[in-house]
């Protein structure tokens, strides 16, 4: 091959003629090179043949000359056996890279494509299975409770004003106004607006009664980041629901989740530690396990059946005179409750002092009177029982903890031989213990609700509208 002159070798000041050697390659040389390459000839042979043709030989002579003078000796031992039959012994077969015929290359290409197709099919199958699993889980978790009633009830209840809506800790606008679990207010409002096109007018009494959280809490609470297009406009989003009432959109799933969080009166919306109801008996009277047990039985009866009785009476009175109905229902139910407790515990009942009678006006029992929407009796029983269970759990925990800290015993059984914190027997200690317990409880509940919101966000990522 002609060599191009190195420009760095040029001597300075010397003028000389530069000759550019252009290789003369004819069509016959190209055909010869191609033919030799198809036969498996090496690069050196092809170059030798082309040089011979440039010297004036015919292509046939050049090919034969190049094949008679191999530059590299064939290494038959290292060459693959598959090419030995196809090529002659003069063909140089490199050991570094096997040579394939076009048929073999085509077969290899088809094999690679087949494997890729198999991998793709397998990946799609796994994706479909995963999607099916997610959909099954999503429908099972969020598709059982239809949200419209929940959203409508949220819409019916008074909403906090706009300046205070940035706080996240009020998950439910008014009913659970004191709750500390983080539930996005905007999501609730969007779901409520979507599900209830014509919200009921708010009564002035409830408007003034609602808990107005501090605006300073807002920057310290991590807001729920939500995808922007997730909540469509109410008029632009028709109600697309599945045949079995499962939520079809992200907003509906969020509404279902918020309703489930709000309805969980035992853990996530505990009446005492999350919503701050029923503090007086917990702090003032639950000094030990026995008193807590007595209060538990009283709360179980009063909270559950007061709600049922009051709702039944409110159905008769067209939901009027709610404060009187609720308080007198509790006061009437207090009579059999006291008799039952007196038979069970005898004169030990006097240990509770004023905290047993004042349960008839405890907010955990009569809180419901502040809201205008009238629930069915069946729901009243369920909600009342759940509230009572939540209150009982906190009463027992606080009672046993305070007894353990104050006396080192639980239900009279000595566990520690020294009192760790005698202050726990006083209401001051009760305030502190309930405060710390509420912090831990709310932190755990917030972690869980955050996880569930993130889960809904991921499960419904493919259904923005």
């Amino acid at each position: 091959m002609p060599m191009q002159q190195n420009p760095n070798n040029r001597r300075r000041g010397e003028e000389r003629n530069e000759t550019l050697i252009i290789p003369h390659i004819t069509k016959e040389m190209v055909e010869t090179a191609r033919r030799m390459a198809e036969r498996g000839a090496s690069r050196a042979e092809i170059e030798q043949a082309i040089a011979a043709m440039q010297a004036g030989k015919t292509p046939t002579e050049a090919e034969s000359a190049a094949q008679k003078k191999p530059i590299v000796q064939p290494q038959a031992a290292a060459a693959p056996a598959r090419n030995t039959a196809a090529h002659s012994d003069t063909v140089i077969i490199p050991t570094s890279r096997p040579r394939y015929t076009s048929a073999e290359r085509r077969a290899m290409l088809e094999e690679v494509q087949r494997r890729q197709a198999e991998r793709e099919a397998e990946r799609q199958k796994l994706a479909r299975e995963e999607e099916s699993h997610f959909r099954t889980y999503r429908d099972r978790e969020y598709g059982t409770n239809p949200p419209p009633r929940a959203a409508k009830s949220l819409a019916d209840k008074p909403q906090p004003d706009a300046t205070k809506s940035r706080t996240i800790r009020t998950s439910k606008p008014a009913a659970d106004a004191t709750r500390t679990v983080q539930v996005p207010q905007s999501e609730l409002r969007a779901a409520a607006q979507k599900a209830a096109p014509a919200p009921q007018p708010v009564q002035p009494v409830q408007t003034t009664q609602q808990f107005i959280p501090e605006s300073a809490q807002a920057p310290q609470i991590v807001p729920q980041t939500q995808p922007k297009p997730a909540v469509p406009a109410p008029e632009a989003a028709p109600k697309r629901r599945g045949p079995v009432g499962m939520p079809r959109t992200y907003a509906e799933a969020e509404a279902v989740l918020n309703e489930r969080i709000r309805a969980d009166h035992i853990w996530l919306s505990n009446p005492v530690l999350v919503r701050g109801l029923g503090m007086a008996p917990v702090i003032g009277a639950a000094l030990d396990g026995q008193r807590a047990l007595m209060l538990c039985i009283a709360a179980l009866i009063l909270v559950t059946f007061t709600r049922v009785l009051a709702v039944a009476v409110c159905h008769l009175t067209k939901n009027r005179f709610r404060p009187v109905v609720y308080c007198y229902s509790a006061a009437l139910l207090y009579i059999p409750t006291y008799i039952l407790l007196y038979r069970l515990f005898g004169t030990d009942l006097s240990l509770l002092g004023i905290y047993l009678p004042i349960m008839v006006v405890e907010p955990a029992i009569v809180k419901r009177m502040e809201f205008a929407d009238l629930e069915p009796v069946k729901d009243a029983f369920r909600h009342g029982f759940n509230n009572a269970l939540g209150m009982c759990i906190v009463l027992l925990i606080v009672g046993c903890l305070r007894e353990l800290l104050a006396t080192g015993a639980v239900f009279g059984n000595v566990i520690l031989h020294n009192a760790l914190l005698p202050l726990a027997a006083l209401p001051a200690g009760g305030f502190v213990i309930v405060g710390i317990l509420a912090a831990v409880w709310c932190a755990a509940a917030n972690l869980y609700t955050d996880y569930k919101h993130e889960e809904v966000r991921r499960l419904y990522a493919d259904r923005k509208h």
Partner: protein
Amino acid sequence: MPTASIETQQIFNGIVQFISYMVLAVFAENVVLARALGVTRLIKLVPDHRAQVWDFGLPLLFVMVLSAPLGWAAHNRLFPWLRDYLPDWLPISALRPIVYLTCGVAAMAVAWLLLGVLPRKLRTGCRSQLSLATCSTAILGTLLICSNQNYTILQSIAFALGSGIGYVFAVFVVREGRRRLRSKAISSIFQGLPSSMIYIGVLSLAIYALVGHTVVL
């Protein structure tokens, strides 16, 4: 002259006794800090505007003061009379809540009329809160405490007035504390209800350090 002096002395003693019971109810026997009564409503009131606090505080004061003589009458007149007519299986203690609740409702009716003398804006706000104030544990608890302690009618009124003032006092003290508890230095899990409860506990502890005794349930 001696007769006049004795009457003056009795009046003076009565005034001193009234004030002492009232001060006792405001500080040492505070319904919130010493007995944890009305804490739920207090926590709701604390973040509210000052006017909204008075919308609840004034009806509470009215109902508490007006129900005190009714509660005294029920304890000293009604229950002894009623005890003779009750069957053996029904203890008189089982009827205490419904009787004292009736006293509170009667006081609420009178308070509703008395609130009419207030300016219209304040009257509307107070009347809207009147039923909730009547159903507060602070009022029923005060009536029960007065009956348990066998207070006279004057002592009952003084104690009820002091309890009402003490409740409003506790609301404003906790309100000031909550304003300072908005600091970002406080962990987020303690924001809101937990920090308020711990703050009330510290205040309650200060009351106990001042008084040095345990309250009678």
